[in-house]
């Protein structure tokens, strides 16, 4: 597994309590992390809607959804894009999980998870697997431009037991 470069933000590690948050998932609906207590949650922070690597990554998650569901896991994508961009992007790519908008105050949730790249004003490409009690059990920061895939997430979900 590639090691995060020194300049990368230190993301929250396994063992940490996952900070709760509430973000918009549609123009008139919000999602809170605590809504999912009792089941595993996969948080996928990513830099931007529409960029090619994200498209691959999130499209792959949409296609692997049936496997995630075997663990009763909820997948949440998070970026600093506005909710209207998320809606258009999600429709275009036929995504089957919510995209949350970490838009205002910009990147606040990403910062709580150590997954904000201040230099570019975007979320880092970081993954977190949170157990049913709300504790982070696995986290991974992907190098720029590299699609981290789904294998790490699936292994982490398996390890939850």
């Amino acid at each position: 597994m590639p090691r995060a470069e020194a300049t990368k933000p230190p993301i929250l590690k396994a063992g940490a309590k996952a900070p709760d948050f509430t973000l918009k998932s549609t123009p008139d609906q919000s999602v809170s992390l605590r809504d999912f207590l009792g089941r595993p949650v996969v948080l996928a922070f990513y830099p931007a809607d529409w960029s090619p690597v994200c498209t691959d990554q999130l499209g792959l998650y949409a296609q692997v959804m049936s496997e995630f569901k075997k663990f009763n896991a909820e997948v949440l994508g998070i970026s600093v894009d506005g909710i209207w961009s998320h809606l258009a992007f999600s429709n275009d790519r036929k995504l089957n999980f919510p995209l949350l908008s970490d838009f205002e105050p910009k990147g606040a949730v990403s910062k709580m998870y150590g997954a904000f790249e201040a230099a570019v004003g975007e979320s880092a490409r970081a993954l977190f697997v949170i157990d049913k009690k709300g504790v982070i059990r696995w986290s991974y920061l992907s190098p720029d431009g590299v699609n981290p895939g789904a294998d790490g997430i699936l292994s982490a979900l398996e390890d939850l037991g």
Binding site: L60, E67, N147, G149
Partner: protein, 189 residues
């Protein structure tokens, strides 16, 4: 923490279940996870053909399905078509024809002409594709890729280790030759 990088390994070994070209005991085994509608796979197709020609009996080539259907609406149809042709012993002709005719993807009538030329049972192919008769196999290919670090297409494995270089003739042939001289696994550092 040591700053090392080990490319992912193929979790489902190459075996009898696979579509394979070339000698079973070849010293170089190239596995592709591909999507018939993916333009990058289309671009890699002639590269693989050239590699097969260059390396001859030293190479075994295996193709596994990795249809990314939410970006490529015809990818699953194409994968089912190739598998249905395979059931009648014509996987590789159909595999090649699909890549050589990517712009006609999903045009069943166009493919029927070729199926007839191959003397295939066209009705049976049509029924099997409509019933998604080979979806379990395609899904098995797909998940074996997901668990092996396939994140997009095409993704290649050389002797069981993911090839992270460019899908180009020179670099792939070099990597294959290096791998053939490396009997045991050696992590790249």
């Amino acid at each position: 923490m040591p700053k090392t990088y080990t490319p992912p390994r193929l979790t489902l070994p190459v075996g009898d279940r696979d579509h394979s070209e070339g000698a079973p005991d070849a010293s170089m085994v190239l596995v592709e996870y591909g999507d018939y509608q993916c333009p990058y796979c289309g671009a890699a197709y002639p590269v693989v053909k050239r590699i097969e020609k260059e390396l001859g009996s030293d190479l075994r080539f295996v193709f596994r399905n990795f249809p990314l259907t939410n970006s490529h609406p015809q990818a699953e149809w194409a994968a089912e078509t190739a598998e249905a042709a395979s059931a009648q012993g014509k996987f590789w002709p159909m595999h090649d024809f699909l890549y050589e005719n990517q712009r006609f993807m999903g045009d069943a009538a166009y493919f029927t002409v070729y199926e007839t030329k191959l003397k295939l049972d066209v009705t049976r192919i049509g029924q099997e594709v409509a019933q998604r008769a080979y979806s379990a196999r395609i899904q098995e290919d797909f998940m074996s890729g997901v668990r092996s670090g396939v994140n997009g297409t095409p993704t290649f494995f050389i002797n069981g280790i993911r090839y992270d270089g460019a899908p180009e003739f020179g670099s792939m042939v070099s990597a294959l030759k290096v791998a053939s001289k490396t009997p045991r696994r050696r992590a790249r550092t």
